[in-house]
Symmetry: none
Subunit: 371 residues, 2 copies
């Protein structure tokens, strides 16, 4: 059940002290027993004791312990919103499934509120998928806007998003966004606004198309995570490094890419997920490649990034020096892969994204029980 | 399984005679046996015998007994509508989930008919969530109405609602209403109409935003229940009492607030639900704070308030001197908390509002079996 990562230096590196796989497994089991045997003590504090962060080289990390470290305990004294408020920017005339998958995944993991900002055409459809989402029909595509109106409409779109921005713990930008130039221009302004407000952003899908052509939008922003698939990664490498993808030196190239873009966290999706600063999240997973799995991942990373940030703000000493974007990427990748694996065990070739989403809750509960 | 309330004087206070928890529990079990051992007698009358209402101080009430007292027996001689006709006023371009949750919850508890009055944009979406609801696309937001049309449109909206008003047993005003000034102006008129018709109203969400700024709308109306969450309560306290929330004297402040507004019942949601006249409904519940739970509560209170009113009208001597708004609030809070608890046991962190709604029926059946 261990998810292993080779480690490089960077924002922070996660290491386990034990070097033998058998010993590590034993220690892991002991930690699990220690964490949950006493139901009446502060389980979160106990979870933290299980994670050994130290400096060193070529050791391994335990993604499950990262999940335990950043997932908040459920406290009845808390009120709506305190477990996370996520917003997805995406959904247009053509695409409605992707933003739904990202937004509902955030709720299924444990966020309290999940919003979608999309075009009018997309809104009614996304709303109809689930009454749990708050869907704002505010984006506009070129076909509905005259040239002489563009400045005013763009201002209105930005104002609609701006009035909510401070409330969000993380944005997911890109699922089902499409490539309409006017819409992407508005989204560029939304990204700038998020940066000004210090709101973390996860960029996927057509959001990656946008930032690949406008790297300044995210360059130097440590609260940005980019989650490219094979094709999106290829375009990024070509654009930023002016070369082709080199799978023999995959991790080095990923680090170069993150460095050249400037301070962002890269999560390259594939057979194993490669994360800058952490070599890979490689176990669990499913051989099924149905569309939409990347959207689950983006929503998951958004929740865990938010939770990691809160845990660090709360003064959690074991992760205080860590980059929340990196912790969120590890946790999101591990949970998504575990849920995909469980769904595939059950549904085999007919596994769809909706099936995987239904396993997010159980997957997190297996790793990090609420009590 | 007992839900306990400390009691203050007010419209009416519910007391159990027994003071020892063990003795109370025994009496409760004896009552249960007494209620349901003879299946062929009038079970409703027998249920009522179990509840001891008397005056006194610092005693406790049993919310489950309130539920039993006001829930009508299912009599095959009754016809459609007699178990309750609820209407939700809410649903706009931005919000569609909230009115759906309130309206479907009313049906799942046992109301016969559940209506929603919303904007045209929201209507098709809310209809698509469920064929069980009757959805009227009659409300209008400012963006669709010219200034010179407002008086006529406002009159039409009111006429559309007015022709149904006498048929409703309770209105829920606010879930997903939004804050459009023209729409809120129309809703103010709907509230006035409900008062004229003596139709009870439960006010939540943006309905609370409206009445906080126009207290006259509900002041002095004993058939109004206000169900504020932490932020809505804060705004009410600031506006009405010109001070901040004082959690050390929470119940006294709640009573002051209800008194200053004038004769309404307050249900302050939180870790425990505080109800004016009754100290708190504090057991059951879930630590999950996903958006939408308040909408279930508002729909639940609406049904139980209606049922309590009918039970009192039918001459039920054990509750004849009680305030139906208070009884409905106790019952709605207790049932919602029980359903949330059962859903959380099953779904843990991934519990969504839809999951809780699915447990409303079982929760009521556990407390108050149909035979």
């Amino acid at each position: 059940m261990l998810i292993k990562h080779g480690i490089n230096s960077g924002f922070g590196a996660i290491y386990m002290l034990a070097s033998s796989p058998v010993l590590r497994r034993q220690q892991f089991l002991i930690r699990c027993l220690g964490d949950y045997s006493d139901q009446n003590t502060n389980t979160h504090q106990k979870r933290m004791q299980g994670i050994k962060f130290t400096s060193g080289a070529s050791l391994e990390a335990d993604a499950e312990n990262v999940l335990r470290a950043i997932t908040p305990t459920l406290d009845p004294n808390r009120h709506k919103g305190q477990a996370g408020k996520i917003a997805v920017i995406g959904g247009c005339r053509e695409y409605t499934g992707a933003p739904y998958f990202a937004a509902i995944s955030a709720l299924k993991i444990g966020a309290d509120l999940s919003h979608v900002f999309c075009t009018k055409d997309a809104a009614a459809v996304i709303k109809s998928y689930s009454p749990e989402l708050i869907v704002h029909p505010v984006l506009e595509e070129s076909y509905g806007v005259r040239d002489d109106e563009k400045r005013i409409i763009s201002g209105k779109v930005l104002a609609e998003v701006a009035k909510w921005m401070e409330r969000f713990d993380c944005l997911v930008i890109g699922p089902g966004l499409g490539r309409d130039p006017f819409l992407l221009d508005c989204v560029s302004k939304i990204i700038k606004l998020a940066r000004q407000s210090n709101v973390p952003i996860v960029i996927d899908g057509d959001g990656l198309f946008l930032v690949t052509n406008s790297l300044d939008l995210i360059s130097g922003y440590p609260l940005a995570v980019l989650t490219p698939n094979v094709n999106e990664y290829k375009r990024l490498v070509q654009k930023v490094l002016s070369c082709e993808v080199n799978d023999e030196e995959a991790h080095e190239q990923l680090l170069s890419l993150a460095k050249r873009i400037g301070g962002v966290t890269m999560l390259r999706k594939g057979k194993s997920d490669f994360i800058s600063d952490v070599k890979s999240v490689s176990i669990y997973g499913s051989p099924r490649r149905c569309g939409g799995q990347g959207d689950i991942l983006s929503g998951s990373v958004a929740v865990f990034l938010s939770w990691a940030r809160h845990a660090i703000r709360d003064g959690d000493s074991s992760i205080s020096s860590k980059n929340p974007a990196m912790l969120g990427s590890i946790a999101g990748s591990a949970l998504m892969r575990k849920a995909a694996s469980l769904a595939f065990d059950n549904k085999k070739r007919s596994t769809l994204t909706t099936d995987i989403i239904e396993y997010l809750g159980r997957s997190l509960e297996d790793i990090c029980p609420v009590r």
